[in-house]
Amino acid sequence: MLFNSLQYLVFLPTVFLLFWLTPHRFRVPLLLVASYVFYMSWRPIYGILIFGLTLANFLLVPFIEKATEQKNKKIILGFTVALNLIVLGIFKYAYFTMDAVKTTLGTVGIDWSAPHLHIILPLGISFFVFEFIHYAIEVYRGKPVVKNFLDFALFPSFFPTQIAGPIKRYQDFVPQLHIPVKFKWEYVDEGMQLILMGLAKKVLIADNLALVVQAGFAHPEQFSSLDMWMITYAFAFQIFFDFAGYTDIARGSSLLFGYKVPINFNLPYIASNVSDFWRRWHISLSTWLRDYLFIPLGGSRGGKWLTYRNLFITMALGGLWHGAAFHFLAWGAYQGIVLILHREYEAVMQKIGVHEKLLQSKVYHWASVVFTFHVVCIGWVFFRADDMKIAGQVLSKLFEAPTALLHFSASQLAVLQIRDPIIFPALVLILPTLMVSTFVVNWLNNKKFYQSPPWAVQVTVMVALMCLLTIFTPDSSPRFIYFQF
């Protein structure tokens, strides 16, 4: 069931009404049933998978708590994490591994015909497996176990966050289930505002940009260097609005039941360096990677080169988490490298003693924002390309830009030639608008506008979004990008 479907339009109000008409003690079972209905509406058989993993983690993790010796705790933790990773590996990485083995064997002249496994990736598996691992590690670190199976079962399966996060922390989520929340109209107002905003981000912005991005990355040879930059910018905004839209709908849907789930984005494109970007982008994943991969690997405790090694491994595996393909691995590795380069740059700047005033000046700050955005965009090429070959083609086009700019003429721009669909020439206006809007939203944030926006503004925006969404929602909107992960 998709958030942007008629089924969800019926499902969500039904669960909402039942939830608030049900006594508190029955609400968790109700949400659990609803969440399994939601999940199994796609492929009923995978309900068994999520239930099986839930049961296994519920039964195994208490042994970590009960074990008296550290060594035993470690063994049980290792077993639990391995179990989760093996399930993830089978469903997500089996083909990738077999392809890699086949290629490797091929290089030494062995022709291995890999078996065809007919594996379909279960929706949301990467997200709920990470939630299970987080739970096991937190219990290992001394946090209490969840005693009630229904509470525990709802933690990974909670339908608003089930498919693409945000990746929750059980210490934040489970206690909310015990609070006998009273109905407030504020939940409806805030929840529905988030849902409408999320749908608008997805349907009105991301889906339209998707058309441009699809064409550009399928046929980079048809576009000039400057076109490819615009297409790459378009993807940067597409993936942001797609995923941020999903997160808004997830958070809004949760809020209708009085539950809060973490935010995932904080204006990532105003980041002034790549470290800052990762504090603003997919926050629930980046903090998960920090807490359960980077720190266990040693974090920053082992000196510069070990820190860099840990950073690189964390980001490369983070890339691979997104998908079983070399271009995702390359994207992760790229992020690792640019994070290391940023640390080196900071160290050099400190060493040579660049004037503090320059580093704190507005000009330097905004130049850094622009530079960081472009560094991130180059990374998106690896992420979006279907394979490394396409990524290479697109990148070589992008790096031709200085020459193209020297001999600039509007006739270079294929996006201006393509009048149908109209999104192509409109891109020349839309992209700057989106870029400027990021700064406007940041400015409004600083002015605390969103804490108490005027009543009339909220109502006007909601009515406008209702009109726009009813008119421009296509019959078949593409799936959210993060559903594939």
């Binding site: 008629l6 399928a218 393509i418 109209i422 009109c467 008119i471």
Partner: protein
């Protein structure tokens, strides 16, 4: 709980609703929706085709003044379109542009030879046309000054049991034809699933949703006009072509065809070869037979015949020839049910029936694939049809302007 202390709580909840920004917004949206409906905001004429598909070309040609009133209208899917157009390409000895050529010269001449009556034909065969589409053509277009005397409707089993079709509203012809009138009377057939029905009802309830296509086309045109002024396409020696668009966006405007893009070329017997490549596709189409689709499409066929009869138009229903290979893909019993239903329906509605479904007169060498006759097979089909029509009293009565009684109705009543 929402309703804990009935009296006070209810009052609080009502006050809460009145204060709720979301509910106020929803109420205002309903008001805006009604206002937009009153001024018919963004409405475009049904004959205004933003995308030219087979359907758009056919409707435009049919409604044009130069067409006048056709005596005989052919309807059906590609099972009818392909052989009828292919035969004319051979017969007229020049390529036929499928988007422009909507007649059967060959049939007109053959029928005149058999009956001595000169008729004017119009070929409303469209790729993927279902009985639901044929019904809409009949109901909304084949009337008044454009009412034909005879409808020739060729059907195949796919028209009644295509499991790849989510609903009658999913075809390209439906998108255009449903704009010509009110289809509410058939909503239970057009939107049989609960979500389809909900979609249908929401479209009727909220004007912006129901008219989203019109409004978005209007908006698109306004934006295009504005952009053409602000950002005109730069002059270049390599203008953007439709072929480029098809390469870049294979999913975009998929059904669009340009003039001279779908041509039927004259063929020789040696060039007419058989290929069973569409077996796989039909296997999928015939799998998981949905009897509800079958009965719904039969109901559309019955309503088509009722509408035609009420207007004094005689229907010739043809069970189109298909190959044994294709027939064998059908589930056991479905072929018999299909044939029996056609026969009973034709009889009960006073239609003429030409059963060629498993006729031995057609062999594999008459087909280009497992269902479509090539132009050689098409000649056989049109010959048989011309012979049948010329010898059918009801058809000849319908075509004779002096004969005013058809199926019990007088000409003045038509």
């Amino acid at each position: 709980m929402l309703l804990k202390e009935p009296g006070k709580s209810l009052r609080n909840d009502l006050m809460g609703i009145l204060r709720s920004k979301f509910f106020i917004s929803a109420a205002l949206f309903a008001v805006v929706s009604s206002l937009l409906a009153m001024v018919r905001f963004g409405n475009i004429a049904p004959t205004d085709f933003p995308i030219r598909t087979w359907t758009g070309w056919a409707i435009e040609d049919f409604l044009s003044d130069k067409q006048g009133r056709p005596n005989v209208v052919f309807m059906g899917s590609s099972l009818v379109l392909v052989p009828v157009a292919g035969v004319d390409a051979d017969y007229l000895k020049h390529p036929i542009d499928g988007s422009r050529h909507h007649q059967s010269q060959y049939f007109e001449d053959q029928f005149q030879k058999h009956s001595g009556v000169k008729v004017k034909t119009f070929n409303f065969g469209l790729p993927g046309e279902m009985p639901s589409d044929a019904f809409l053509i009949t109901k909304f277009l084949l009337k008044g000054e454009k009412r034909p005397d005879v409808i020739v409707y060729g059907v195949g089993p796919r028209d009644f049991m295509d499991s790849l079709l989510p609903s009658p509203a999913a075809t390209d012809p439906y998108q255009y034809l449903s704009r010509f009138g009110d289809v509410t009377s058939h909503k239970h057939l057009i939107a049989p699933e609960w979500d389809q029905r909900l979609n249908f009802e929401l479209g009727h309830l909220f004007y912006p949703y129901g008219h989203s296509y019109d409004i978005s086309v209007t908006a698109d045109r306004a934006v295009t006009a504005a952009l053409d002024k602000i950002l005109p396409a730069p002059k270049t020696d390599k203008p953007y072509t439709i072929a480029q668009r098809r390469l870049l966006f294979p999913q975009y405007k998929q059904m669009e065809i340009a003039n001279n893009e779908a041509c039927f070329r004259p063929t020789t017997p040696e060039q007419r070869t058989f290929d069973n490549a569409n077996m796989k596709e039909y296997k999928k189409r015939y799998s998981r037979l949905n009897w509800r689709t079958f009965t719904h499409q039969m109901k559309f066929l019955a309503d088509l015949m009722n509408t035609a009869r009420d207007r004094g138009t005689q229907v010739i229903l043809i069970s189109m020839p298909i190959t044994d290979l294709n027939r064998d893909l059908l589930e056991k019993g479905t072929w018999d049910s299909y044939k029996k239903s056609l026969k009973v329906l034709a009889q009960s509605k006073g239609a003429s029936y030409l059963d060629l479904g498993d006729s031995k007169d057609f062999s594999l060498s008459d087909f280009m694939d497992t269902v479509h006759l090539h132009s050689g097979g098409g000649v056989k089909l049109l010959d048989k049809l011309a012979e049948k029509a010329a010898s059918d009293h009801k058809v000849m009565s319908a075509l004779d302007p002096t004969e005013s009684s058809i199926a019990g109705l007088k000409g003045g009543q038509l």
